[in-house]
Amino acid sequence: MRPTDELTAAERRELIASMRPEDAEGVPALGELDVPAALREQIETAMARYPQLRSAAIPALWAVQRHYGWCTPQGVREAAAVMGVTPAYLEAVATFYDLIATSPIGRHRILVCHNISCWMNGADELLGAFCDAAGADRDDADQHGASSADGEFFVKGFECLGACDIAPMASIDQRYYGPLEAADAVAAIEALRDGEEPLSDKALALRPAAGGPDPSATERAPDAEGHDA
């Protein structure tokens, strides 16, 4: 595609002629969509939780993403119908956030942090290792994320994931693992392919506080007594 690709007169006429007033996406009528019951229920639960229903926009998009794997136009339309907003509104919200996918992505989502601390500790190599292991394009992964050809993996170089202490690290299917080495990437991909829990020894949940389990100075805290009492 040329950078400033223009339409020929014929293409333009055709495009304009194809635009019908009924194509404009207003608030979809709930009755005309076959919204999956589970999805509808999740969205309605979210709407009920908040003082104002629009607060449920992000939970609704999460629900759509869980249901369809990514926020498909149909899914967004369904969520919009349940919420009584226009799909464009939800699309605007969805495209704002990094974790909501508005185009198809691989089944397992691997986010490799490549921000400052992780980069200093070798995140670029780690991202490369994940891409190689999963078969995703390295350059795309660094920018917008790349999916493997088999549709199993989505690898993305992510801006800070908030786990600089385990740099370099990655979030695999919403769980944090680190510090990782290139070999871990291969192991993780394999484990995911086999349907197993990846890198269970490197999960963030297992990591103790940096200062060690036995804090040496709590004597000065008088609330210790309060707590003991």
Binding site: E6, L7, T8, A9, A10
Partner: protein
């Protein structure tokens, strides 16, 4: 005391002019007719040279490089597309209000100019034009320049409205030749 001019009290007031000796004979004759002869020489020289008249319109004098004559519109040499995009800035700049531009949209399959827009109509009313050159200055794409063409007379006012095609083409030979017997 000045002897020659006794009425002058102070000799210092006198400027003495040094003259040569009075000429006589041939020298005197030369003094009398020399300039006339010199003039005659020029005359004679032209006489043998033949006529000096420039046979306009058959012959033309060259104009200075920055002479502002009839306008020209230009094309890109490589692509052949018109440089003019129909922006109308020339029309805005024109103090005589003699330029009319009607723009239209390009079809990328059948381009007239690069970009989105081209001049569907580009007319200059040369009967009004004062040849100030502002259009040339205003043009952001050097699409219009003032050429060296100055033979613009015509029998009809309407014929002085130059269209885009005329302005894009090389100026036609407009030399009016006298008919037999005129």
């Amino acid at each position: 005391m000045n002897e020659e001019f006794p009425y002058l009290k102070d000799a210092e007031e006198v400027v003495t002019v040094q003259r040569g000796p009075e000429p006589g004979g041939a020298k005197g004759a030369y003094r009398a007719f020399g300039e006339t002869l010199r003039g005659l020489r020029t005359t004679m020289a032209r006489l043998i040279e033949g006529p000096m008249t420039i046979q306009y319109p058959e012959e033309k004098t060259p104009v200075y490089p920055r002479f502002r004559g009839r306008h020209k519109l230009h094309r890109f040499e490589d692509t052949g597309l018109e440089k003019c995009v129909g922006c109308s800035l020339c029309a805005a700049a024109c103090p005589a209000d003699c330029i009319r531009v009607v723009a239209a949209e390009n079809d990328p399959d059948d381009r007239v100019s690069p970009g989105e827009r081209y001049a569907a109509v580009y007319e200059i009313n040369l009967a009004r034009c004062i040849f100030c050159g502002y259009c040339e200055v205003a043009c952001p794409f050097d699409a219009i320049t003032m050429g060296h063409e100055y033979e613009l007379a015509d029998y009809n006012r309407g014929d002085l409205i130059f269209t885009k095609e005329m302005l894009l083409a090389e100026p036609v030979e407009r030399t009016p030749l006298r008919r037999e017997g005129e």
